[in-house]
């Protein structure tokens, strides 16, 4: 199997991650529910992760994988804080709809 998989070109991973990333972007633009938007952001992060791992494996250098490790760390922290924010917003406004979050102006 190992010998067979070598036939996958690196390009394909590029296309796949770009596509995943764009799906994430579309979701962010598309949805109004803040939780789903957060999930889309996770999706985008993962597309980048995938690309990093692909580059790392293809070049035989483990730095990329360590970066991915740290991105996971940051993502976990981000989700924890983001969800906490959402919970507190929900408590205050009774909704997680970002269209209600239009106070970002003076």
């Amino acid at each position: 199997m190992d010998t067979l998989i070598q036939a996958v070109p690196l390009n394909w991973y590029l296309f796949l991650s770009s596509f995943l990333f764009c799906i994430g972007v579309m979701g962010v633009l598309f949805r109004r529910n803040a939780i789903v938007i957060l999930m889309c952001i996770e999706l985008m992060l993962n597309s980048v992760n995938l690309l990093l791992v692909a580059f790392s494996s293809y070049s035989g250098n483990s730095d990329g994988q360590i970066f991915v490790f740290f991105i996971m760390v940051v993502a976990a922290a981000e989700v924890a804080v983001g969800l906490a924010l959402l919970v507190s917003i929900y408590r205050n406004t009774g909704s997680t709809d970002i269209d209600f979050l239009n106070k970002l102006k003076w």
């Binding site: 199997m1 190992d2 067979l4 998989i5 070598q6 036939a7 996958v8 070109p9 690196l10 991973y13 296309f15 770009s18 596509f19 995943l20 990333f21 764009c22 799906i23 994430g24 972007v25 579309m26 598309f30 109004r32 529910n33 939780i35 789903v36 957060l38 999930m39 889309c40 996770e42 999706l43 993962n46 992760n49 995938l50 791992v53 692909a54 494996s57 293809y58 035989g60 483990s62 994988q65 360590i66 991915v68 490790f69 740290f70 996971m72 760390v73 993502a75 976990a76 922290a77 981000e78 924890a80 804080v81 969800l83 906490a84 924010l85 959402l86 919970v87 507190s88 408590r91 709809d97």
Partner: protein
């Protein structure tokens, strides 16, 4: 065979990602996102990044997504409550995402990355190698990330705490 394997896994990834975005029920989004993460873990295994594949499943599927599930259920959002944006905006969103994809592809076209092939499996993706690197070259960021976690934890607790008044 190899390409077939890649393509089928990729197809699952893309489909589940689309479901995440398009489903009206946040619950379905969460579940399909979990599935999507599993397929990404599959990609990691195909790329000989075994340690990351396992970590990925533990962190994302095991921790992050569970957190999402909890929040969705806690806030009682598991119904079709999410009204997608109005038609014009949906079209605009799809078009801009599509434009982004096209421009991305266009800028990637000029690269010659297709000539690269995956080298024979080595031990760089194994826990031993990653561990050694983490505790030698990347010791400081590793330790600092623990502080990040601590502050995130405190932040989350403070933010989610109920106001006394």
């Amino acid at each position: 065979m190899d390409q077939l394997l890649f393509l089928s896994v990729s197809a699952l990834t893309v489909i589940s990602a689309l479901v995440v975005v398009l489903s009206k029920n946040p619950m379905y989004s969460v579940l399909s996102l979990i599935f999507c993460f599993f397929t990404i873990a599959g990609h990691y295994i195909l790329l000989h990044a075994q340690f990351l594949a396992i970590t990925h499943i533990i962190v994302y599927a095991g921790a992050i997504m569970v957190l999402f599930l909890f929040v969705v259920m806690l806030l009682n959002l598991n119904k079709d409550s999410d009204q997608p944006k109005v038609g014009k905006l949906r079209v605009a969103a799809t078009i801009s995402a599509g434009m982004l994809f096209v421009t991305l592809l266009a800028s990637l076209k000029s690269t010659r990355l297709g000539e690269f092939t995956l080298p024979a499996p080595s031990d760089i993706g194994l826990v031993e190698h990653i561990g050694i690197r983490l505790f030698t070259d990347y010791l400081l960021p590793f330790e600092i990330s623990s502080i990040l976690f601590l502050s995130a934890m405190i932040g989350a607790v403070v933010l989610a705490k109920k106001d006394k008044n």
